[in-house]
Symmetry: C2
Amino acid sequence: MAEPEAKRVKTEYELIYWPGIPGRGEVVRLLFEEAGVGYIDTAKADKAAPTVLSYMAAKNLGDDKNPAVFAPPVLKHGDLVINQLPNILLYVAPKLGLAPASGDAVYHLNAIALTILDGFLVEVHETHHPIATDKYYEDQKDEAKLRAKAFREERLPKYLTYAQRLLDGEKSGEGGWLYGGELTYVDLVLFQCLDGTQFAFPRTVEKLRKGGKFDGVFKLYDAVKERPNIKAYLESDRRIEYADGIWRHYPELEEDEE
Amino acid sequence: MAEPEAKRVKTEYELIYWPGIPGRGEVVRLLFEEAGVGYIDTAKADKAAPTVLSYMAAKNLGDDKNPAVFAPPVLKHGDLVINQLPNILLYVAPKLGLAPASGDAVYHLNAIALTILDGFLVEVHETHHPIATDKYYEDQKDEAKLRAKAFREERLPKYLTYAQRLLDGEKSGEGGWLYGGELTYVDLVLFQCLDGTQFAFPRTVEKLRKGGKFDGVFKLYDAVKERPNIKAYLESDRRIEYADGIWRHYPELEEDEE
């Protein structure tokens, strides 16, 4: 039984993202899935790629209510059209009960989200594309090896140390969440970003897990994975498998076996 | 005549940033300067670097009201301590009259700020550090040449095209500003980021200016530069000269003279 079109348009979230990869869109999906809120996912509809490209087109100058967007993910909600992943999270999280709508927590959580995305998403993409986003990995493989080494040895531990610092500083709850003693969207951000990083660098992440310095971080990862809605989602065919997106697995970028 | 300490602490903004480079802190400074609002700038005080490092220290777990921060810039305002440049801008801009405090514009402006910072700040830093942030430029010079070429030829025009698209889509004013027909903080972000990019790649930016495809962008740049408070600031000794920060000039990373 379909809802009346006018109502549906006003109330439903629409995620516009590339098909075939989890990518940045996956972080947005996890918020909807945890909250149990329905959403339209153009990545799984007809003309998925053309839909994305229509938003990015030079001649697309936005509309009366919205400026042009630069790149996906794009979120449509009623008349509003916004892009930039951390910005979409900032907008939807309070509406989904995954963040307070006002006060200092808004800025604390936004800072944490931005930092996790810098470390476990943007910098992971750089490991396989250190020279040019627009060129093939194969054309920058030598440089990728160097960048990946620096990521595995310096950057990844640095960001994990920060996440663990947040957990060590959390006095407000026993839940093991990053902020305020209860689950918020930044826990979902960390889960997805660490999951992707683990896909890309399984040996490195396994070693860091066993090292014992980041127990709180991996406990949080495991706890998110077991949340009923997330668990059901991960087991469903809505969850897209990793492929040639942000989080890629190239064995030659991994550390050597011991 | 000094204000009573208690009042001063509650009302004054304190920017914590590295000394000796404009860097990310400079974007925050421009907002205060345009608004004519006083602020404490630890970059210009004694122990500037140790102050930054004390926030980043592994043992610094934040305080009762704030989680740990990852990296500067850090903003203190009363009891609040936050980091991440786009997050600081999001927080201060409405308080300084440089953005609406609520509504769709918050998310439109945040997306624009994030995109400009990605293109003209983060990606410029990558041009001289494509392999490892923690290593010297001299140790990644060959890769830097490749990355800088891709930036000059692909990425910079792409982001300029987006900024021009925003201006072309702006129907609400003749002011030539990016959003809503009047100056907002994203215009200041674009000014600073383009100014830094011009310092790093003067020949490339001059050529793009003369090319005529981005007239609106350069008009905006010139207009910000002439605003009375900004002009006075740029001529003052509070403006820090470019050095070995995000926006660096290495002649070998520039395009060849024609």
